[in-house]
């Protein structure tokens, strides 16, 4: 005790005291402040690792501090859900800046790396977190209600059966076949690329789960109509019958009109 008392006038003492004070207030704030869903699982190490990965792979377009450049938007406030969706579906990193970021089978990062980048981006500004597994499991939803919501909110772009469709100037709404519930949920809550945002007050988490249930039901449905022609509706079906149906008829007409000898 004497040793401590003897050093209380040491020049470093005041700095130490401030440091201790800051740590205590910080810890108390961290413990008491309202936190986003993912806060507990994010460590400083993870954020640091995510920052390194981000600067190595994403900063060309999004800027070193994710502030955005003319080639890519700022990522402040997009949240962990956006990173998990964009990188987890292979959309990011994009091969080159383009009107559409297509889904790629090959995902360049593993789950830990994606989680690290998500943690880094989420640390920039508050945004939607990676959804709770409770709301991404289609098994727990009501596919009938989901179908109704899907037809009102989603079907005009993604087609009534989720086959996708064209947008303006080369953009398109992708197919929703065999997409994990987590990614469907994240797309709705973050509004990737051209897609508008469907926040929780517009489509509640339960309703999002119903939509996931609907899409997964469509995935599982046995289609016994033969060739689906992309499930695109009258355009592809019309083209098919114009080419093959009319082709056969023209063939018969030519045969009928030919001289017999």
């Amino acid at each position: 005790m004497n040793a401590l008392a003897a050093r209380r006038r040491h020049p470093a003492a005041i700095a130490l005291l401030i440091l201790v004070g800051l740590l205590v207030t910080g810890a108390a704030y961290a413990a008491l402040a309202p936190k986003p869903a993912q806060a507990s699982t994010v460590s400083a190490d993870q954020v640091e690792q995510g920052k390194k990965l981000f600067q190595a792979n994403c900063s060309t377009c999004h800027g070193l501090g994710a502030e955005g450049t003319k080639d890519g938007p700022s990522l402040a406030g997009v949240g962990a859900a956006a990173v998990d969706f964009q990188v987890g579906t292979g959309r990011m990193p994009m091969t080159r800046p383009d009107v559409q970021a297509p889904r790629k089978e090959e995902v360049l990062f593993d789950e830990k790396e994606i989680a690290a980048m998500a943690a880094y981006v989420a640390s920039l500004a508050p945004g939607p977190a990676v959804p709770d597994a409770e709301y991404t499991d289609g098994e727990k939803g009501d596919p009938a209600k989901g179908g109704e919501l899907f037809r009102v909110n989603c079907a005009m772009c993604h087609n009534a059966s989720g086959a996708g469709g064209a947008l303006t100037r080369g953009k398109y709404a992708p197919s929703l076949r065999n997409i994990s519930g987590e990614h469907i949920y994240e797309a709705m809550v973050t509004g990737p690329q051209s897609m508008p945002v469907f926040n929780d007050s517009n489509v509640s988490p339960e309703s999002k789960r119903d939509i996931i249930a609907f899409l997964h039901t469509v995935d599982k449905q046995e289609k016994v109509g033969g060739m689906t022609l992309g499930n695109l509706g009258p355009v592809s079906e019309g083209l098919f019958i114009w080419v093959f149906g009319l082709g056969i008829m023209i063939g018969f007409a030519v045969w009928l009109g030919q001289k017999s000898a």
Partner: protein, 363 residues
Amino acid sequence: MNEHGTEHGGQVAQPGPEGFGREAVRLDQGHIVGTGGLPERFDNPGFPPHIPRAADLDERAAKRAEKQVATLFGLSMLGTLVFIVAYFAIPMENRVFIPGIGLANLSNVVLGVSLAFGLLGIGIGAVHWAKTLMPDEEMVEERHPLRSSDEARGGFVKTVLTGGTEAQLDRRPLIKYSLGGALGLFALPVVLQVAGSLGPLPKDELSKTMWKKGDRLVRDPELTPVKATDVTIGSVFHILPESIKDSEHVLEDKAKAAVLLMRLEPEAIKVAKERDWGHDGIVAYSKICTHVGCPVGLYEQQTHHLLCPCHQSTFDVTQDCKVIFGPAKRPLPQLKITVDAEGYLVADAPFREAVGPSFWERG
């Protein structure tokens, strides 16, 4: 004389020993040797020579054709029988995988294919029969003018006039006019029924929607009201008027009153009227395309384009939904909105113009 050394007008090509056709004149040769001018008139070249068919000359070929036709008819019978059996024998649930086509309903496939054989067998057989065995002669059917001879026409007029005179039509005008009136009036009930069956006049139904001042904006399909704070930037809400709950004709009213609610950065909006009619960057536009009335729901949150899926009409939400591409001719009507005391979005006025496609009275 010309460069070919022939007289002007040249020489008309003559039919060969077997008439025209055997030595048909090629187009690049022309009928006139020399200048290529036109002759006075073209001679009828007549038929090309008749070429007999194999079955006309050879009895064995005819026999073969007969067998082919009979086989086709037989195939048809087989197809029809398979159809009848399959109709009862194959359960509707059976599936079959067909390479190149995919998973299909077995009953559908078998019924379709057998019916195709049943019909095509008859059709192809009949045509093959006609082409190989039925008489094969070229013939000309002359066309005559349809007009009757002047005598016949005169006779008809005379008969009618005589009939009229003998019935005393011109001596008794009372009968003539009362008959005319009776016949003319009798046409009216027929016309009335046709016109009446078109249904009531639309009145102002095409111009009016359910929206009225103070009507809350509710989500489709849940019909829950929307707070202004719920609508975050980049969001799109599919909206109906709250009064749709009391509607007796929900589909008709929905088809006119459907609205799309979007929130843009207020500075992204380029038209002052659009900003004034919205609330803090939240704008509501009719979802019914002004081209032919499809629901315009494809909102791209980055370009602020609204695309109609039917004919690709594209509206720019930053420019008061001006048409920037496609066949639509007028912008989407904006619904003036505001917030009520509880913070919910409400309509501030009905639509100022008729929504949806143009119609006659709308101009």
